[in-house]
């Protein structure tokens, strides 16, 4: 069971990381090419602006999902500064339940929005319909919900096994970045 979960988690992690890198590289290439063409050859790619902005939407969701994995979402600072490490997992269970509920509802809202756009038949550029880009919104919120479910199961698992939780500083994004080198190699 545990192996199964960690396999799914690993697969998800690698896929998200890969897609994130591809999106950023494509976005960077298009944006730089546009500047080059516009300033040197006085032409340009008509869809470059729109495209890069929509790529940011993709990056946003992959980044947010990875932040969920690392448990580094921005929050009121009080909790990780004042709360003792041993109490944190108990509260975390509550928090994760709320997160799963809210994100599922947001995912549903995004789904309705996407279907609406699909029916309206709006086109972003050339023949590409807008909903092809908006599709990342329900997928993104879905991914984040899934991540919260995984976090929830992990925390319960750690609570039962009485495993020591990470110190609360680790929910400060910058601190997590410092420690991420080992995290990614594992």
């Amino acid at each position: 069971m545990k192996k199964f979960f960690s396999k799914i988690e690993k697969g998800l992690f690698v896929t998200e990381k890969t897609l994130l890198c591809v999106c950023l590289t494509v976005m960077l290439t298009v944006a730089a090419l546009q500047v080059f063409l516009r300033n040197v050859f006085d032409t340009g790619i008509s869809w470059a602006e729109v495209f890069t902005r929509h790529m940011v939407l993709f990056l946003l969701f992959f980044g947010a999902s990875l932040a969920t994995r690392r448990k580094t979402h921005l929050q009121m600072d009080l909790s990780h500064k004042l709360m003792p490490a041993c109490v944190k997992p108990v509260f975390e269970v509550f928090i994760f339940i709320i997160c799963i509920a809210v994100n599922s509802l947001l995912c549903k809202a995004a789904w309705v929005f996407m279907m609406g756009e699909r029916e309206s038949g709006s086109v972003l550029f050339y023949q590409i319909p807008t909903w092809c880009f908006i599709v990342i919104m329900p997928i993104g919120f879905g991914l984040i919900s899934l991540r919260f479910v995984i976090n929830f199961i992990q925390t319960i698992h750690d609570l039962i096994l009485r495993r020591k939780p990470l110190p609360p500083e680790f929910s400060i994004p910058e601190v997590a970045i410092l420690c991420s080198k080992e995290d990614d190699d594992s």
């Binding site: 994130l20 932040a67 600072d77 809210v102 994100n103």
Partner: protein, 422 residues
């Protein structure tokens, strides 16, 4: 009851985007509005012209911070001004400002550069307490300089022209630099620190070492101020340039091992910020539709009668916010509500932005909960109490600057008007 519940969940550490999402969902469902409206507002993000500058500049900043660029720039700055008393702290201030402006997050500066700058200060015979205090405080020094992420975010949310904000931050930053440099000068006289001799051959060597990094600020600043390219285009050019230099010319960042990791790190941070922004768009539009800022204004108007008093209250309020939240969340939450109120009191939106960011900069250092204190305590393995003492003089200096910046609007708007006159 509802407010209590919300406060409870916020305090136990529910992610802010979930808080906003939950509240917005509740409000819309309560009114019987289709929740897809939240997503329509969220999608408005994709029409913000400067949006793409945020991930690109951050990525470039992270690459720079991981490469050997900081060391080369410290060497260069030290070789040029190292013979002046109190020069090493100035070098620290300048380098920190440069990297905070690029990475947008002050914690990254402390974590990435602390290991380089702190020993360098000790080597120049500065006392340990001063060194720790300086490095911790400098983590938030570059917030007002282009192309800092909080500035871009403020412009995006407060609907203020980013070019103007980039100009407005120059003089206030200069003020903070000057005060810090003066203080460092006195400290260096007292602590009998060491200086390096000025040698032209060494300067030349350092220039040659750093020749690829020197054009960087010029590209960014000339591009933006010269009006040749937009901020998001400048971000793309910077990112490509940095990758070319650090990966292919200097070969300090491995293309297949390090670049993807840095991409993931920087975008994880950016994603965490932007998702709050996206979800909060729905909440903000709800609050504005229901004229909440007007209601707050009606409520405060009898108590706050003058602009000076408003500014004072604003400072106090933002200092509290700065202790409770990180800078990005604070901008996303507070700016849409404060801006209309500030306009009523005749505060220029550009000036408001600079006050806002300087306040949050102070919040980073403010005991007991300033974020920089926590990060430095983790980074340098010191107790928080030691850091309160070490950063105290710097906190006073930044507070003095804050007062000057708040009550002397010209400092923020003077250059903007001058440039507009051209």
């Amino acid at each position: 009851m509802k407010t209590l519940l919300i406060t409870f969940f916020a305090l136990i550490g529910t992610p802010l985007f979930v808080m906003f999402g939950g509240i917005t969902l509740y409000l819309f469902m309560h009114e019987g509005v289709n929740t897809a409206v939240i997503m329509i507002e969220f999608y408005r993000l994709a029409s913000a012209p400067t949006l793409s500058a945020i991930p690109l500049f951050t990525f470039a900043g992270f690459i720079l911070a991981e490469s050997g660029a900081p060391k080369r720039m410290v060497d260069l700055a030290q070789s040029i001004i190292g013979s002046v008393p109190g020069a090493m702290p100035v070098v620290v201030i300048l380098i920190c400002a440069f990297f905070t402006a690029f990475t947008g997050a002050s914690g990254v500066t402390i974590i990435a550069l602390g290991g380089l700058l702190y020993p360098a200060l000790l080597k120049a015979k500065y006392h340990d307490r001063f060194a720790i205090g300086l490095v911790t405080s400098c983590g938030s020094i570059g917030l007002l300089l282009p192309p800092s992420l909080p500035l871009i975010l403020y412009g995006l949310i407060g609907q203020v022209n980013i070019d103007k904000l980039f100009i407005a931050g120059l003089l206030p930053s200069f003020l903070i630099f000057t005060l810090l440099a003066l203080y460092s000068y006195f400290v260096s006289r007292k602590q009998k620190t060491e200086r390096v001799c000025f040698e032209f051959s060494y300067v030349w060597k350092c220039i040659k070492e750093a020749k690829w990094e020197i054009p960087l600020p010029i590209i960014v600043l000339y591009g933006i101020y010269g009006g040749i390219i937009t901020p998001s285009e400048a971000a793309a050019v910077t990112a490509v340039y940095v990758v070319l230099v650090e990966v292919f010319i200097k070969k300090e960042i491995r293309p297949f091992k390090d670049v993807p990791r840095i991409m993931v790190e920087s975008i994880t941070m950016v994603g965490g910020i932007l998702i709050i922004l996206g979800v909060a768009m729905g909440l903000t539009s709800y609050l504005v539709d229901h004229e909440v800022p007007t209601a707050i204004l009606e409520w405060v108007r009898p108590h706050i009668t003058s602009q000076a008093m408003f500014l004072l209250m604003l400072n106090v309020f933002l200092l509290i916010v700065g202790c409770l939240m990180d800078i990005f969340s604070a901008i996303i939450v507070v700016v849409p509500i404060i801006t209309p109120i500030a306009l009523q009191y005749g505060v220029d939106p550009v000036h408001l932005g600079i006050i806002f960011l300087t306040n949050l900069e102070v919040g980073y250092l403010h005991p007991p909960l300033g974020l920089n204190l926590f990060i430095a305590s983790f980074r340098f393995k010191r107790s928080l109490f030691e850091l309160y003492w070490a950063t105290f003089p710097f906190l006073i200096i930044v507070l003095i600057s804050l007062v000057v910046i708040t009550y002397w609007p010209w400092l923020s708007t003077g250059l903007v008007e001058l440039f507009a006159g051209h």
